[in-house]
Amino acid sequence: MTNQDEHKEGIGGMINPRRYGIERVAYLLMRLSGLGLLAYFIGHIYETSSILKGQIGWNEFLELTQTNEGHIILAIVIAMCVFHTVNGIRVMLGQGGVGVGKPARPDYPYIPASQNVRHKMGIYSAIILAAIAMMYGLAVMFGE
């Protein structure tokens, strides 16, 4: 069956973060940061292999990355890494059933206990920490 027949929302729906609150934003950022980090990680392995070409090769490579663009990319990587780690820990706890609330008779109007302050705080702190780490990284790299 094609996508049209099944009437699936598709990638557009999967990545649209606007309708369902901060949890859905976190979901999206988690995916993007995971993929981003993977890409960086592959690049990083490749990058560091240039050390095999000796000091000259290494320095050539360093020059390529120690540019403004390079620094900005690195700062984003730092942010992604911090967000992905902090949020990853939150997600792991949540997925293990920690802090997702206790089952109880729901009373109208229904407010889902799993979408609670603890997890929202987790998401916001992941974002804030990521931002701080990125600034710090920028300060260190451009500060020199």
């Binding site: 995971g34 993929l35 993977l38 990680f41 290494w58 990853g88 792991m92 020199e144």
Partner: protein, 116 residues
Amino acid sequence: MRESIIMKIHYGTALAAVALVAVHILMRLTQGFSESLQYDSVIANYKFLPYAGMLEIILILLSIHGFNGLRVILLELKQGRTYEKAVSYGCVAAMIALITYGTRTIIMVNTGLGMM
């Protein structure tokens, strides 16, 4: 393999990596960013066996974690027997390739073999 085992590995590698990556990055920051990247200091790090070992472990952990993450995303994007097989084997292959490539660097630098 049961999906639960794969995912436990996914979580396990992530948790283990948290500590190690922290060390790895803190090295950059504590020594001063640029200095830490000087050729000599990098080589010195590599020559220091525990550190090299740590790099190797990070490499393995994150390759497993990262490529499994990629596998998960790809599995959810599209379905079908051949596609899913391709994704699974593709990710394992890429993972092995990356680990081999990275390991080659670490071993060669650590032992000094093949260095220019």
